[in-house]
Amino acid sequence: MNLRVNLIDEHEIRDCSVITSRFLIFVLAGLVLAVILSVLGWAFFTSQRNATALKEETWKWGRIEADFKRAQTLATRRQAIERVASDLDGWRNARISWRDELTALATAMPETLQLTDLRMMSEISVSPAAAPGAAPAKPPELSASLRLIGKTSSPTAEADVARLRDVFSAHPFTNTVDSAVIPQGAFRLDPASNAGLAGRLFEIVCTYRVKTLK
């Protein structure tokens, strides 16, 4: 038994929930709008911040650009100088002190021998690079030699020449000389007319130890 005769039309009944469909739509639309605005705001803020940072950096760069270029040039020059200095150090370390060598030779020179020619030769050998433009496989090497040519009229010429050769096997030459030899046929008669019967020509070739330029 129901005595409730409801005269309201279906479309006149409104949703009485605290949260209505319309309210939910508004809330969802508001949320979507808020998200979109947040994203746009964040993008705008970020772009503005980046633009400000770019301006600041550009201003700073404008102030230091000349100094930077100058520093770059100086660094390039410094590198070149350091390279030259390094080469010079290498050279200084590898070079043979001919003054010391000749002083020692003068001291040890037998009195019966007369030098007529003295040749100091040095050569730098550079090993080929593995590929074009690449650095050499080994650093350059300095090889040196000393060639002594002389004459003597001493009756003990052969022994004197041998003694001179042996000088290079003793101190101080042992530090620098690798070998000293009298080439085959280099000790011979002096063909000069005024040489006499005892006159002899001799030749000694000293090979120095190879040094690396580094």
Partner: protein
Amino acid sequence: MDFSGIKAALSLGGGFLRDVVGIDFGTTGTRAVRVSRMGGGAWSIVRVWSGPATGSGACVLPRDMRAPAGALAVSHPGIVSKLLSIPRPSNKLDDVPIAELLGITDPKAFRIAIEIQDSTAGETHALLAALPDAVARATLSAFVQGFPAPQSLEVAGLAAINGMVLSIPGNRDQGVILLDLGAETATVAIIVARKLAFARQFRIGANAIMRKLGESLGMDAETALGAVGEGIVDAEGQTGAAFEPLARQIILGRDFVSRRHNVRPGRLVVSGGLFQTPCWAEPLAAALGVEVTVWNPLAVLPAAPDAITPGLAAQGCRFAAAAGAAVAALEAKRP
């Protein structure tokens, strides 16, 4: 777009009502009763409000009366309500001239609603109500947005009688005559063996009765109401005569029910502003020869502390339609 699934998951509404304000746009004033469903399913009056008669739907409710849902009740001389016995099953009522059966000559000007009470293969008992569409629109126009959101629109007399039935279960089980006496109309329902056996609205209201009483006593209606109601004037005979047209209609209805159902209701339950003074029910009790009970919803329904001010409690019978509409709305959408 349907959010019912989301709302149900969030328990927002859930399709049932918990808090309803019943509003009765009466001839003499606007009455509102806010009723909430407490834990355990019991109702409780939360707030009661009475305002001047401002015409249908033109009132502004106080903030504490704005429940989420609203159940509206209207009174109007043009309203027709009847219990009809239609010789058709309930699924074949489409071609029944309902408006004609209700005596309405211009069906387009009315909105008609039907509530089927019971139906067999050969007969359908239906309670019908017709309300001028202009009155319905005017009433609902004040509720197009905000709270309360209207859930129902009822005839005030039927809403009051429904309130009597819902609030006192005994009224359903025993044979009882229910009367809501408004200012301009009276609604009578007779219930027998848990069935609505008779229902009709008459254009005999408290105003007409008081006018007749006043004329017979040689005073105006308002003076007669005060003088007789307070017992200053002994006018038993004149009062019985004033109530005689209404009593006659009720007796006719009761006799009809007695013949049809072979049961004679022995109780009368009345509501309406006039019965705030119980002596006005005595002429009806005497004419019908039954026991009379005055239904005061503010006394019957449980109420929260301080929900009803003493001034309004004294006028409890006037809130029958508002309380009945609210309770019916809660019952229609109960968890």
